[in-house]
């Protein structure tokens, strides 16, 4: 049974049909990539799944339960975490605190417990701190824990965002262009990291421009063009797919 199922999802921005009747599914513990030229609707598709934007119609099921009418925070509580294309770290907070916010869905202390500093909230707070350190460590940035997150180098910020997303211990991780703006070495590192995350039993859906990364690590690929799904297959088959080659390289005039 698939972990995530998307059924005939649609999004129109005025006259633009950004996502046109797209359906696909992601099987448990696989890496699936969504590729396509600029403006193909990849990020929109992502935002529809994480409910950052509202779909016009269509259904999304996660662990066999409908999630297409939930609030974004409820999606996160169900076990879907995400990163953003244009990194969205919390300014004014340290890297550690950023990752600690990631622990939010797996912790409980409410408003009153916080105000009154109840013993239960204190032990939980300690647990959150330790877990956040673990994830910073996993990404090899534990030494940056106390620096302000938004003051870090671009690659490091990306790592903090990764750690933050992982801290919620999701079953499904949505990665929006994890290699954007990274050089070839950093991209190789990201590839390794994604495989490492998968080995922890986390399913991954990613949007990516970097073809070498996508072809190396994904189990399956969905290709979008002008909002429509034009192919869905294994990397090797996608590389041979005529339509895909056409949209990436253009019409063969000869």
């Amino acid at each position: 049974m698939a972990l995530l199922e998307v059924h005939n999802i649609n999004k129109r921005f005025g006259g633009l049909h950004a996502v046109n009747d797209v359906s696909f599914s992601v099987s448990e513990n696989t890496i699936k990539a969504v590729i396509g030229p600029n403006g193909a609707g990849k990020t929109t598709l992502f935002n529809l799944i994480s409910r950052n934007i509202e779909a016009n119609d269509g259904k999304v099921f996660f662990q066999n339960k409908p999630i297409h009418s939930l609030q974004p925070y409820e999606i996160a509580q169900r076990g879907i975490s995400r990163t953003f294309q244009n990194i969205k770290l919390f300014h004014g907070m340290s890297a550690l605190e950023n990752v600690m916010v990631g622990c939010h869905p797996k912790s409980r202390a409410g408003f009153l417990a916080g105000i009154l500093r109840l013993p239960s909230s204190l032990s939980e707070e300690k647990m959150i701190r330790e877990r956040a350190y673990e994830f910073l460590d996993l990404l090899g940035i534990a030494d940056l824990a106390h620096l302000e997150a938004t003051s870090l180098a671009f690659g490091q910020q990306r790592a903090v965002e990764f750690a933050r997303a992982l801290a919620s211990e999701p079953s499904l991780l949505l990665l929006d262009e994890p290699a954007a703006g990274l050089n070839i070495y950093e991209t190789a590192k990201v590839a390794k990291l994604i495989t490492k995350i998968q080995q922890r039993g986390i399913t991954i859906l990613l949007v990516e421009h970097d073809m070498s990364l996508v072809m190396d690590i994904s189990d399956e690929i969905v290709v979008l063009s002008f909002g429509k799904k034009i192919a869905e297959d294994h990397p090797a088959a996608i590389q041979q797919n005529k339509e895909v080659i056409q949209i990436y390289l253009g019409e063969d005039d000869a």
Binding site: V101, F111, G114, R117, S168
Partner: protein, 354 residues
């Protein structure tokens, strides 16, 4: 425990100031210091919603007025003429009313201050809940405008309602006995105890807010201030977090209104005015937005100076000018260190060119 260290210094300072006024026989300062304390209570509440959660409110004088006016109205209006009507006699039997004698020896039947206080704060909380739900969906200028509108409504209601004394406000508000022996009143002899009641309340208020900002929910507030979208993606129910903080800050404002009104023995529509709200926002900004101690220190200093008449009749203008200067030269607040670094940077340059 480290975050409580400043609270100890603060407590020591409160005691020290009282002792100094006693030795130097300047106990009259305690009156304005007590009043400043209540305004500071409102300001630290506002600091939480504005600085930490990033939601501006230009309506907090409204919540202060709801607290002050309701408790003043309930504890001053004589219910004796209605003593035999159903509801009044029911309230009386339930022990919620108190009777006393006025100057001419007539019997006064009024609501017990504790009941009035609870009604006043509950009303502010309910209004904050109802208002906050839709209004906190707005961002930036729009939120400022909507809360400003709320503040204006409360001001006009205070000005137009006979029950609230219209332009004259309400006076003759009785004292409020919190516990036996501890009474909020402006009596000359009760100056020292009231100074400690006020600052004790601020101390507890401060303690709770420090706990909050250092908790899981406090972190969620800072996060939604940074990026609401990302906070939601991390499972933070941002609408609820904002609403609860807004309600908490409204309760702080209402409590400040209740206590200050009993202390002063009166309240007027000036307390509900928009300029008051602007003043509170300015103070939070000067204190450095997400900086509870900054808000408390600046709030106490400026309110104290203002009430001592240091700014004369230019009071509101002074706050306006301060707000402009802070926004231009120290948008991070006065108490942030890098401003002093900034000033140091400017100094040697001047020497160089001179």
């Amino acid at each position: 425990m480290r975050q409580y260290f400043p609270l100890c210094i603060f407590l020591a300072l409160v005691v020290l100031i009282q002792l100094v006024t006693q030795i130097t026989e300047t106990a009259f300062y305690l009156t304005q210091l007590t009043m400043s304390a209540y305004y500071s209570l409102l300001i630290i509440g506002l600091c939480t919603i504005m600085g930490y959660a990033g939601q501006i409110s230009l309506g907090h004088a409204g919540f202060f007025a709801i607290g002050g006016y309701l408790s003043a109205g309930l504890t001053t209006h004589n219910l004796q003429p209605f003593a035999d009507t159903g509801i009044t006699s029911l309230l009386d039997k339930a022990g919620l009313l108190v009777s006393s004698k006025d100057l001419y020896g007539d019997t006064l039947l009024t609501v017990h201050p504790w009941i009035a206080c609870i009604v006043a704060i509950s009303t502010a909380v309910i209004i904050a809940l109802v208002l906050g739900g839709p209004v906190l969906k707005l961002k930036g200028h729009y939120l400022a405008m909507a809360t400003l509108g709320f503040g204006i409504i409360i001001f006009r209601i205070a000005m137009a309602t006979p029950y609230f004394g219209e332009a004259d406000g309400l006076s003759g508000v009785p004292s409020f006995t919190l516990l036996p022996g501890i009474t909020v009143s402006g009596d000359f002899g009760a100056r020292i105890i009231n100074y400690y009641i006020a600052w004790g309340t601020v101390l507890i208020g401060m303690l709770l807010l420090i706990n909050l900002v250092n908790s899981r929910m406090g972190r969620a507030l800072s996060a939604l201030h940074g990026s609401e979208e990302a906070a939601q993606a991390m499972g933070v129910n941002t609408a609820r977090a904002k609403l609860l903080t807004f309600v908490l800050s409204a309760a702080y404002a209402a409590l400040a209104g209740v206590l200050l009104t009993h202390y002063n023995g009166s309240i007027g529509p000036g307390e509900a005015g928009v300029m008051k709200s602007v003043r509170y926002v300015a103070i939070v900004a000067i204190g450095g937005m997400a900086h509870l101690w900054g808000a408390l220190i600046i709030g106490t200093l400026l309110n104290f100076m203002s009430m001592r008449g240091l700014f004369g009749s230019y009071d509101d203008a002074v706050f306006g000018i301060i707000l402009i200067l802070i926004m231009l030269f120290a948008p991070q607040g006065l108490l942030r260190l890098h401003i002093w670094k900034h000033i140091q940077k400017i100094k040697p340059k001047k020497h160089g060119t001179a």
